[in-house]
C-alpha cells in the first residue's frame, strides 16, 4: 500500500478551506458572520475561500434576510461531504504509512 500526497484533495490544500469544510461537516448550516468569528479571519479572505468551495460545488449558499440585514448561510453538498471524508481518510492513511516507515 503506497499512498502519495497527490491523493489529497487540492481544494483543501488551503487551511481556511479545510477549516470551513470541517465546520460544515459538523453542522447542518453555518452563517457567514459566525464562520468569520470562529475562524478569526477577515470578510474578504473568508468570502474568497467560500467562493472557491462554491465553484467546486462542495458547498451551497442560502441567502435570506433577518429583518433588513442580509443573512447568508452555507451548507455542505453531498459531493463536498464525500470529498471531505476522503481527504480525512487519506490524511489518516498517510500518518499510518509514515509510522510504519
Amino acid at each position: 500500500m503506497n499512498i502519495s500526497f497527490d491523493k489529497l484533495d487540492k481544494a483543501f490544500e488551503n487551511r481556511v478551506r479545510l477549516q470551513i469544510m470541517s465546520v460544515l461537516a459538523a453542522n447542518e448550516r453555518y452563517d457567514f458572520n459566525s464562520l468569520k468569528d470562529l475562524l478569526n479571519i477577515t470578510d474578504g479572505n473568508l468570502a474568497s475561500h467560500l467562493k472557491a468551495l462554491e465553484k467546486e460545488e462542495y458547498i451551497t449558499v442560502h441567502k435570506s434576510f433577518l429583518g433588513r440585514k442580509p443573512n447568508t448561510n452555507y451548507e455542505a453538498t453531498d459531493k463536498g461531504k464525500k470529498a471531505f471524508k476522503d481527504h480525512l481518510n487519506t490524511l489518516e492513511q498517510l500518518i499510518k504509512q509514515q509510522k510504519l516507515a
Binding site: F5, R15, L18, Q19, S22, V23, A25, A26, N27, Y30, D31, S34, D37, L38, L39, N40, L88, L91, E92, L94, I95, Q98, K99
Partner: protein, 220 residues
C-alpha cells in the same frame, strides 16, 4: 508534510468541528458556585419556614384554646407572605447563578478561542429557553392558584428538560445532569411536603457534583 504536521492538521480539524458545534466554554466552577448559592438559599428558606411554622403553630394553639373548632384557614394570610419571601430567595439564587455563569464562561471562552455569543451559544440558549420558559410560566400559574406544594417538583422537572434539550450543544455531562434533575423532580412530586429538601438536592448537591466533574475534566 511531516508526520507531526499531518497530525496537527487532523487535530485542528477535530478542534474546529468541536468548537463550531458545541459550546465548550461552560465553566465547571460556575456550576459548583451555583450549587453553593442554592444550598445557602435553601438554608435561609428552611430557617424562615421553621420560624413561620412555629409562630403559626403558636397562633393556632392560642385560637384553639378559645375555640377548639377553629380552622387553619383563619391564619391563611401568613402563607402568602412566606411564599413571597421564598420566591425572592429563589430569584436571588437564580440571578447570582446566571451572573456567575456568564462571567466565568466568558473567561473560558477567551481561553478556548470560542466566541461567547456565537452560533452555538445561541442554539444552546434557544433549546434551553423553550422548556425553561414553559416551566416558569407553569410555576407562576401554580403559585397564583395556591398549589405551593408542587412547585419544587415542577421546577426540577422543567429545569431537567431544559438541560436535556440543550445538551446536544455542549458537554455530554449536561444530558445526564438533566436526567438526574427530572428523576429527582418526579420523586419530589410523589413525596409532597419535602419540596425544599429535593430543591436543595437538585439545585445544590447535583450542581456541585456536576460542576466538579466539568472543572476537573475541561476547565484546565
Amino acid at each position: 508534510m511531516e508526520e507531526t504536521e499531518l497530525q496537527n492538521e487532523l487535530a485542528s480539524i477535530r478542534s474546529i468541528m468541536e468548537r463550531s458545534s458545541k459550546f465548550i466554554s461552560l465553566s465547571g466552577l460556575s456550576g459548583i458556585l451555583a450549587g453553593v448559592y442554592a444550598l445557602v438559599g435553601a438554608g435561609i428558606a428552611y430557617k424562615i419556614i421553621s420560624d413561620v411554622t412555629s409562630k403559626f403553630d403558636a397562633v393556632i394553639g392560642n385560637l384553639r384554646l378559645r375555640d377548639p373548632d377553629v380552622s387553619v384557614g383563619v391564619v391563611y394570610g401568613g402563607e402568602s407572605v412566606l411564599v413571597e419571601k421564598l420566591f425572592i430567595i429563589a430569584l436571588i439564587v437564580l440571578i447570582a447563578s446566571i451572573t456567575t455563569a456568564i462571567i466565568l464562561s466568558n473567561r473560558q471562552a477567551k481561553k478556548k478561542a470560542q466566541p461567547m455569543w456565537g452560533a452555538v451559544s445561541r442554539q444552546l440558549m434557544f433549546h434551553m429557553s423553550v422548556p425553561l420558559v414553559t416551566g416558569g410560566a407553569l410555576i407562576i400559574i401554580l403559585l397564583l392558584h395556591g398549589y405551593y406544594g408542587i412547585v419544587s417538583a415542577v421546577s426540577l422537572i422543567f429545569y431537567g428538560l431544559a438541560l436535556f434539550s440543550a445538551s446536544n450543544f455542549t458537554f455530554g455531562e449536561v444530558k445526564y445532569l438533566g436526567i438526574c434533575e427530572i428523576i429527582l423532580g418526579l420523586i419530589a412530586a410523589c413525596l409532597p411536603g419535602h419540596g425544599l429538601l429535593f430543591w436543595a438536592l437538585g439545585f445544590g448537591v447535583l450542581h456541585i457534583i456536576y460542576g466538579a466533574r466539568i472543572y476537573f475534566k475541561y476547565d484546565k
